[in-house]
């Protein structure tokens, strides 16, 4: 009984926190869906008016198919309920494909690319940031920080274009296809696009890691660790690194969002069949159901990711995990 009480008291605040976040996340997703719906319906002229020479009959069929002949509240109701069922409707421009199919087919590609980019960015950020901090105000620090500021100053599409250019030159120089210039296939196809995609986040994380390593380095407990007779490497590995990495987790949520948006550009340039490229095409073609479906999907994905990152941080940092216990 005693342990059970202790457990609920431990889990209480975290569970309440997660519950609250989930609720506000759901509200956000609903708002995004509703805003999308109404604005799409305020568009002057309906989406079918572009169709060339549609007969009244075809037009009626199409309207019935897309549910455009019903009054607005009913359309909204259909839209929300079908979305709750996970049905995002049918594409306007590709008549035989449902938005679900498009997401199911293309999102895994984007997710794989994004995951690899996050891995690159995090590993690179930790390593470069730690090196810069350890060599503070000496040349490795200067070189790394210069590279960081250069990286955050160049738009990602320029990096994408330049790296593609470099691959072409490399392949020309060696006479063999060292790396594919574009397209989608194995890991070889993902390598450079993921690196380019993660570059901006890597620079940001490097900066953060450097600052947090320096902050941790001047903390009192580092002095304690040294006074205990730990070698500087032991101090670095067991005390500095661990504590310096923790704050990086908090920015992973926004980083995932940035990498998702950045994915649009990278997928476009490297002609990778991801959802991002599809989304941009849909935007350019005003394919409303695809825009609505993908944005609600992306919105839900990002809300979920940010929440997930927060929970992970709560689990990793004892100060947050055990807040309830300290208060009690």
């Amino acid at each position: 009984m005693q342990t059970f009480l202790a457990k609920t008291r431990q889990a209480g605040p975290l569970a309440r926190y997660i519950g609250g976040r989930l609720l506000s996340g759901l509200f956000t997703i609903w708002f995004i869906a509703t805003a999308t719906f109404f604005v799409m319906h305020w568009v002057p002229g309906d989406p079918l008016s572009d169709e060339k020479a549609v007969s009244a009959e075809i037009r009626q069929n199409l309207e019935a198919r897309y549910g455009l002949d019903k009054p607005l509240p009913q359309q909204y109701w259909i839209y929300i309920t079908s979305m709750l069922k996970g049905d995002f409707g049918i594409s306007y421009t590709q008549k035989n494909r449902s938005v679900n199919d498009i997401i199911a087919e293309h999102f895994p590609v984007s997710a794989m690319l994004g995951a690899l980019a996050i891995v690159f960015a995090t590993l690179g950020g930790i390593v470069w940031g730690a090196i810069a901090a350890r060599f503070r105000n000496r040349w490795p620090d200067a070189v790394i920080m210069f590279a960081v500021i250069l990286t955050v100053s160049v738009p990602s599409f320029v990096f994408a274009a330049l790296s593609q250019h470099l691959i072409i030159k490399l392949n020309q120089a060696t006479g063999v296809s060292v790396l594919p210039v574009a397209g989608w296939g194995g890991l070889r196809h993902m390598l450079v696009p993921a690196l380019v995609l993660g570059l901006g986040t890597m620079a940001y994380l490097t900066r953060l890691m450097r600052a947090s390593t320096l902050e941790v380095g001047s903390a009192d407990y580092i002095k304690t660790a040294r006074s205990k007779g730990l070698s500087s490497l032991q101090v670095f590995l067991h005390h500095e690194l661990r504590n310096a990495v923790l704050p990086l987790i908090t920015v992973l949520g926004p980083a995932i969002a940035a990498i998702t948006t950045g994915g649009f550009v990278v997928e476009l340039i490297f002609t990778i069949p991801g959802l991002g490229r599809y989304f941009v095409t849909a935007v350019q073609q005003l394919d409303y159901t695809v825009i609505m479906g993908t944005t609600v999907f992306y919105g839900a994905f990002l809300v979920l990711m940010v929440l997930l990152v927060d929970i992970v941080y709560g689990l990793v940092d004892p100060r947050i995990r055990l807040q309830g216990r300290a208060d009690a």
């Binding site: 805003a35 599409f157 944005t295 940010v306």
Partner: protein, 465 residues
């Protein structure tokens, strides 16, 4: 113990002597401290200089370089950087070589191939017929210095019963070419290979010259032929439609910098007001306002960008500067609001604010003299950091076709154009990319320097240095 003995007058008591020992440091105001620290940072001054230069470039540039950024010129597409060059006006007329002129051209001994005319409008070649040849294949090597042995681009196949002559009008530039003429017999074996190198003279067609106002309209082709004109300079070259990149960079800079400065300025101001009000009233009101801010942060920017374009009735392919501004402002403010709220909450608890309140300071006085100056630094720094991110956003949106659309130039849309011709004409991407990067770099460095300069924790260092 000590020798010699210290004289007794040295042991005269002096009383307190503090005043003469006091070293007074000049008293500096907060802003003087900030400026002093900023001025010491050489990188910051350089960044400030670059930022100002870029603003001048965009604002004053179009007066100093009054070239129409939208004027297309098919005759000078994708040119690299050039200064003004003189060219000859040529009026093309069908080439009819008779055998007399043909013989005259090849009259000397040992001459197998002759250049009749070579300018950037057309190149005309003649050669000696090869006995038993059934056809001649003509090639042009555009980079003879790189690919020495390659015949290059196949131009034309000429039957042997026609006159052995060639007119080439295919995208000629003022550079070295090498033409190869290979004679084949009926079985397809190579009989003879003629080669000649040449460099076309810079020329402009009469029509182009008249369109650009270089040649008076009343001249006919006979009068204009051979007339010398000066072609306009393109210090940064031209793009794939022959538009001057320098002029486009200047006009594009106006748009990019306008969006880059106006959007952050508006949302930083709104965010400061919002955060300040939330923190000032505090309590439940503050909770609700910050909940709203958290909610806005979670909204996807791109979706709202599209929604605003739809709301403002902007068709695909149209420029949507207003939509872009509105989307950036509506979604951009929460970070500043949080920052200012945190700052104001902290200031509210500070001893000097309490002291001012206890001494009878009115809220307005406290806000103006104690809160505002301490928030100004944070505001200025967040504004400086918001500018590069807004410039990036504009570039990104123009890149995916949701921002500034042609023919209006912006740095983002110029990059978008440049990427298509990146492999053959890298300068079309390079110059706008440099403009964006330089601006972003300058404002990033400026932001770093301002943050350091405003950091009150560093303030003690100045007096000692």
């Amino acid at each position: 113990m000590l020798s010699p003995v210290i004289p007794r007058e040295y042991f005269e008591p002096l009383g307190r002597q503090q005043s003469e020992e006091l070293i007074t440091r000049p008293s500096l105001s907060y802003w003087q401290h900030v400026w002093l620290r900023f001025r010491k940072n050489r990188m910051a001054l350089a960044a400030l200089g670059v930022a100002l230069a870029l603003v001048l470039f965009a604002v004053i540039g179009p007066w100093l370089w009054p070239v129409d950024p939208a004027a297309q010129n098919i005759g000078s597409r994708s040119l690299g950087p050039t200064w003004s060059r003189s060219a000859e006006v040529v009026a093309w007329r069908p080439w009819r070589a008779d055998s007399a002129s043909w013989q005259a051209a090849l009259s000397g001994t040992g001459i197998d191939i002759a250049v009749v005319e070579a300018n950037t409008e057309y190149v005309r070649l003649l050669w000696k017929p090869v006995p038993k040849a059934t056809r001649y294949a003509v090639y042009r090597n555009d980079q003879p210095e790189l690919a020495r042995d390659s015949p290059g681009l196949p131009l034309e196949d000429i039957a042997a019963d026609a006159m052995p002559m060639l007119e080439d009008r295919l995208d000629l530039r003022e550079r070295d070419y090498r033409y190869s003429i290979i004679a084949y017999d009926g079985r397809g074996d190579e009989l003879q290979r003629y080669q000649i190198g040449l460099r076309p003279a810079l020329a402009i067609s009469l029509i182009d010259g008249q369109l650009q106002g270089l040649v008076p309209l009343e001249l006919d082709s006979r009068q204009a032929q051979g007339l010398g004109v000066t072609l306009p300079a393109h210090p940064l070259g031209t793009d794939h439609l022959g538009r001057d990149i320098l002029a486009r960079l200047m006009h594009g800079g106006r748009i990019s910098l306008f969006i880059g400065v106006a959007a952050p300025l508006l949302y930083v101001m709104f965010g400061a007001l919002y955060g300040g009000v939330a923190a000032y009233f505090g309590g439940r009101f503050d909770d609700v306002m910050m909940r709203v801010a958290d909610f806005v942060v979670a909204l996807p920017f791109l979706l709202f960008m599209i929604l605003f374009r739809v709301l403002f009735n902007i068709q695909p392919g149209e420029s949507g500067i207003t939509a872009m501004l509105v989307a950036m402002i509506v979604l951009g403010w929460p970070s500043t609001a949080r920052l200012v709220r945190g700052q104001v909450l902290q200031l509210k608890e500070q001893a000097f604010v309490n002291a001012a309140r206890i001494l009878g300071g009115r809220p307005f006085y406290i806000i103006m003299t104690h809160m505002l100056p301490n928030v100004m630094g944070v505001l200025l720094v967040s504004l400086t950091f918001a500018i590069p991110s807004a410039i990036f956003t504009e570039a990104f949106l123009s890149f995916i076709g949701l921002g500034v659309a042609p023919p209006a130039p912006s740095w983002g849309s110029m990059c978008n154009d440049g990427i298509r011709t990146m492999l053959s004409h890298p300068h079309e991407l390079l110059f706008p990319a440099i403009a964006i990067s330089l601006t972003v770099l300058a404002f990033n460095l400026l932001g770093d320097a301002l943050r350091d300069a405003f950091d009150i924790r560093l303030r003690e260092g100045v007096g000692n240095a």
